[in-house]
Homo-oligomer: 693 residues x 2
């Protein structure tokens, strides 16, 4: 790590703590005071700091019309200007406070810069909320008493008029470093931040297929039977996830197989691998007294228990090696492909010991506050390393993260479950180097199932979490009836739609895999707010229910109950994903939303590949591509080919397959590299683009 | 103040901060280490403290079966054992974290003691949540893998088994004082705490009547017309409350009349007083630049604005004098009887500057965190003093409070609005020296209106807050239709029921006024959880939807949609409030809940006075009493008579009127004191009590 990303500047004040995201996970940067020409709207001397009994306070300038994005996985707001944001890991953020599974002390400004506060403390940001004393005085108009009553005017958003400032309070410290990321565009800022984080992760290719998490009461036979059923029915799944029941004890965890439910795990894994499934195991980090790991880590844990188990000090390298090494030896080496790492997100309001107190201390020197912030990402790094030790990639799920997470191959999920909030979180995730899955869990009815599935297919992880139901949700969405084995009316029609969208996910794999390569190489998030791609169009700045999926697709999810929805198309030409109908942008259109249709639009001027769907991604899968050219002009799209499994790509072992259309309309596919081909272009199609049309 | 209450002990550690509840509002106590025989289940040496970068940590012993009550105005839980409680003032507590308008760092234990942490810091309590590392090891049974899946077992509440401790983290300080309150009963603890606070408040007599807060769009004529209508219709109200519209500007506040809507306030007040109304004015503490107070307090305010207004430093005596003196001179002297003091409860998740940052600093030395905790009670003290300066009592409403509030004549209210939560808050309020009104605001329908009214009549403040509707809710509960002036079907019948319950409130005044006198003299809360009166019956320990109202009444509110409800009657005999039917306690009964009936029960063995209802409480009102004796045995009830207005009672200027029934069944009413009588006993009635029956 420690690469030096241009346009990143460090501002140091006071005496920073030893434990911080950059010190743990990050890159390097020049000090701001030494900077020559810096493209920030304010300079070193415009920043003020002071120290209080509570910690450190930083004040930054702010323009009156400046808006802010980021702060991690936010469910309630998109633009954070005029708000207070409290960066505390909280598994159940029930109000718009800034708390979240993955709050990130990083924001992006429409004025073309980003700010990272390099700390594991519960930072609070006041983003132009409160003027300094007296600053409103000159703005107070001559008093005219109101003649009429209006609730709106009573509570109208009254931001500070004058001398707007960003106030940052970093508690319990006597200094910290701030990092400033130059633009000029917000997307430039985000890319810089992600590169500073080490570049985005590249998932194994199979991880871009569909995921199915099994019923919590599953045993070995149940698991095999359902896996075989999917293959027999031609429903594409790449990953089978086992929930807590696989372990001999939870909560807390033993990390050992349940001998009653899973008497022969090696055989199970063998049979699943034979059908080309990848297996993901649920766990959390709290170690049960009967776990083999307990004795090894008792002296390397925090001073308080959670669920009667140890809290291993993952800020300590040796502890990570022991915890990760156990996973490597017992699971990676036995063919497990990844983990779902749960409950690391400080369940704040649950009764009893669902997490450790903030007053905890750890042998590494971290306290409970710092550990709550750091734990999710440390846990990810620990598990990832177990796979890296064997030279292979993983992708998992995680319930918490923190700053500089882009390189980590884990996708966030949540026990919250409001579909609308989930989509807002998806839009927000791309500002802060996070991946997010609006996983399909329980559903109100078939419509809800389909609407949720449609959006999860267009997310970083196409995941159904069926831990509460023995039968798939397309068989029955009602919990009690599912448990009773009662098929719902219309199940066959629902199954057909579900299958169609799971197959669509498989068609998108080459396209979306390329998006992850750009995430890795350029820092460009694979899923993004429209405000990042169309920053100059101010109308995009408030859109939190549409997003860009990869380079070329604009997705507008539909929620249960909607029979039509408005979609804003930025200026330019667009094509309906399903009909290829051409549409003019720069305006809001109304889309009808038949249950089988999710509004998706393709940008004009792009090359867009779609694969023949496969049932799963094997080591030797070669995708047959149909390539579409949309609209006029020269265009280019780069696909990446590698083994999809190992770390060899880090040594340059990959091909690029560059698809181009030149000014005359001629197309070509040019491969560079010597790895086995992963893609074959079977067909070119052109829509409004000259010769191919 | 500074009286020395027996059975209260102080534990000092480190270097306590200058600003604290006891230093600001409290009594005195002996140091625990100097104590002789102390009735606490643990001693001085069982308490440990340590200091961290985050602040101070105290650990106290805890028994495995110990339960905890208190922590102020809690909406979500009754028993807090096994939970984490975060004492942060928050106007919108949306989850069970401990945050609230009035979180109080004071709890009562079933082991017969209470603990107050004397701080304005955001204390966190971990009440037996997490065992120390290794403490669960010896309890972990030999591993037996589970054979069946159960969600219940997965997440079962797993409290620490061994070495349960109470962990208290006090941030941002290097020491604090703890106060321990002896029992032996929980009620003894609560009484001691309230006496330590100076004893409970005694409201002016009129304040126990009914309150009506007017439509926000009201002008002078509207106000007068509605007030006259109530009198003409014989609907009893004592207090008219004006909402923000009375001021020339809000938010922030000018504390000046709106010249358009209220051109002649003196005339208005004169006419309302002539009809024996008391007038309460809404305000908040944030001072608009055009307020007369602005210039005086600019140098006595915090360094950040709220709503463009000053945040006066009410921790400073001179500031309190200026702010309170303005209210005295402009409002108390003009006949205003009280204030509703809003928005002092740190609206945490609202956008923009709805409150001041925690990083604020105040001239007195308090920071924003401390001020958030202290502000509500300081504000109450400031306003109360404006009345005390003129030798009169007030009662108001307030949105926030803190430790040692019992003496303060303000009732809490909330913008939350779940009726069930409101009743839980009512049950909880009595543990921590708080008064709470489940005010009637908007209502789903007539049933909701009546159910809410029935419980508010049996609370510390019988308050309807009709700020959004020009017509009374019994005319129309639907907001839009109310604004349109459209009368609802059945309005006349609803009006009759509403009137009946408002009259019932008037009948209860002498009884309930006596409860406040016990609050003042003995610390006994006027509204209490059953667990306080019937602690020996463990079944009462979880009841959060019934409560004691005064000495003798058990109230069981009904919620919209209920057609019957279960009521637990503690051991002994009870009498139905409405029918005087005798019921045996020690069991749960099922009550039918006709809309006109709220289940209320009278203890056997009490004397219970009911007054002839009056339309309002005048200075010279004398209540005609019908006195009931319920059940056998000697019994006694003390009524208190005074002017009901002034502070003369503090100089001993009051009578007692002691109602007794002796062993032979003979009754007597004996007055002691020379004040004009307030009560006349017109009739004695006996139920199951010998001669009178």
């Amino acid at each position: 790590m420690n690469q030096f990303v241009s346009g990143v500047w460090r501002y140091c004040f006071g005496s920073a703590e030893d434990a911080s995201p950059v010190r743990f996970f990050g890159g390097g940067a020049a000090r701001l005071e030494d900077a020559g020409s810096v493209s920030l709207p304010f300079g070193y001397k415009d920043i003020t700091v002071r120290f209080t009994r509570r910690g450190s306070v930083v004040e930054l300038p702010m323009k009156n019309d400046e808006n802010f994005y980021g702060f991690g996985l936010q469910f309630f707001s998109l633009n954070h200007a005029g708000r207070r944001r409290f960066m505390k890991v909280n598994s159940d953020p029930s109000a718009d406070t800034g708390e979240s599974h993955a709050p990130i002390p990083f924001y992006v400004s429409t004025a073309g810069y980003g700010v990272l506060v390099d700390t594991f403390r519960y930072v609070t940001f006041y983003l132009g909320t409160n003027g300094a004393k007296g600053s409103s005085k000159v703005f107070a108009k001559p008093m005219k008493a109101h003649r009429e009553f209006s609730e709106q005017s009573l509570y109208a958003l009254k931001q500070a008029h004058n001398e707007r400032r960003v106030l940052i309070e970093i508690p319990n410290c006597e200094g910290a470093d701030l990092y400033f990321f130059e633009g000029p565009s917000m997307l430039d800022v985000v890319c810089r931040y992600n590169l500073f984080s080490g570049g985005g992760c590249i998932p194994p290719l199979w991880a871009l297929g569909n995921w199915y998490r099994l019923y919590g009461g599953a045993d070995q036979n149940f698991t095999l039977q359902l896996a075989e059923t999917f293959r027999r029915q031609g429903i594409p799944f790449d990953v089978i996830g086992l929930e807590p029941g696989w372990q001999s004890h939870s909560y807390s965890c033993t990390y050992q197989w349940n001998a009653f439910l899973f008497p022969e795990p090696d055989d199970l894994l063998h049979q699943l691998r034979r059908q080309n499934y990848h297996v993901n195991l649920w766990e959390h980090v709290f170690i049960h007294p009967h776990a083999e790991l307990y004795a090894k880590l008792e002296n390397r844990s925090g001073d308080y228990e959670v669920w009667g188990g140890l809290v291993p000090d993952l800020a300590d390298k040796k502890t990570r090696e022991l915890f990760g090494g156990y996973h490597r030896d017992h699971f990676v080496d036995n063919g497990i492909s990844g983990f779902k790492i749960d409950e690391c997100d400080n369940s704040d309001f649950n009764p009893s010991s669902w997490s450790f107190p903030e007053l905890s201390s750890f042998p590494s020197g971290l306290d409970g506050e710092q550990m709550h912030s750091a734990l999710g990402l440390l846990y990810q790094k620990t598990i990832e390393q177990a796979f890296r030790d064997r030279g292979i990639r993983t992708m998992g799920q995680v319930r918490s993260s923190w700053a500089l997470a882009a390189k980590s191959p884990f996708v966030l999920y949540s026990d919250l479950y409001d579909h609308r909030q989930f989509i807002r979180a998806l839009v927000n995730s791309g500002f802060s180097g996070l991946l997010w899955s609006p996983e399909v869990r329980s559903c109100e009815d078939a419509e809800d199932l389909i609407r949720r599935l449609q959006s999860v297919v267009f997310s970083s992880q196409s995941l159904l979490n069926c831990w509460r139901i023995p039968n798939p949700p397309w068989f029955q969405t009602d919990l009690a009836k599912n448990l009773a084995g009662e098929k719902m009316n219309g199940s066959d029609a629902v199954t057909a739609i579900v299958k169609k969208f799971l197959e669509l996910r498989m068609k998108l794999i080459p396209y979306f895999y390329a998006a992850f390569w750009r995430y890795h190489l350029e820092g460009r998030p694979p899923v993004r707010a429209l405000a990042l791609d169309y920053e100059n169009d101010g109308l995009t700045h408030t859109i939190d229910d549409q997003y860009m999926f990869g380079d070329s697709l604009l997705v507008a999810p539909v929620f249960r109950g909607q029979t039509s929805r408005e979609v804003f198309l930025p200026a330019g030409e667009w094509y309906d994903f399903w009909t290829h109908e051409r549409l003019s942008g720069g305006k809001t259109i109304v889309c009808k939303t038949d249950l089988e249709i999710l509004p998706v639009f393709i940008k004009s001027g792009v090359i867009f590949p779609l694969a023949e769907p496969v049932l799963c991604v094997k080591e030797d899968t070669v995708f047959d591509l149909t390539v579409f050219c949309f609209g006029g002009g020269e265009k280019r799209f780069t696909l990446y080919e590698d083994d999809g499994l190992s770390l060899a790509h880090e040594e340059g072992k990959y091909n690029t397959l560059v698809l181009t259309q030149d000014g005359n309309g001629s197309v070509s596919a040019v491969r560079t590299g010597t790895e086995p081909p992963r893609y074959v272009v079977r067909e070119w199609n052109g829509i409004d683009c000259g010769v191919l049309s």
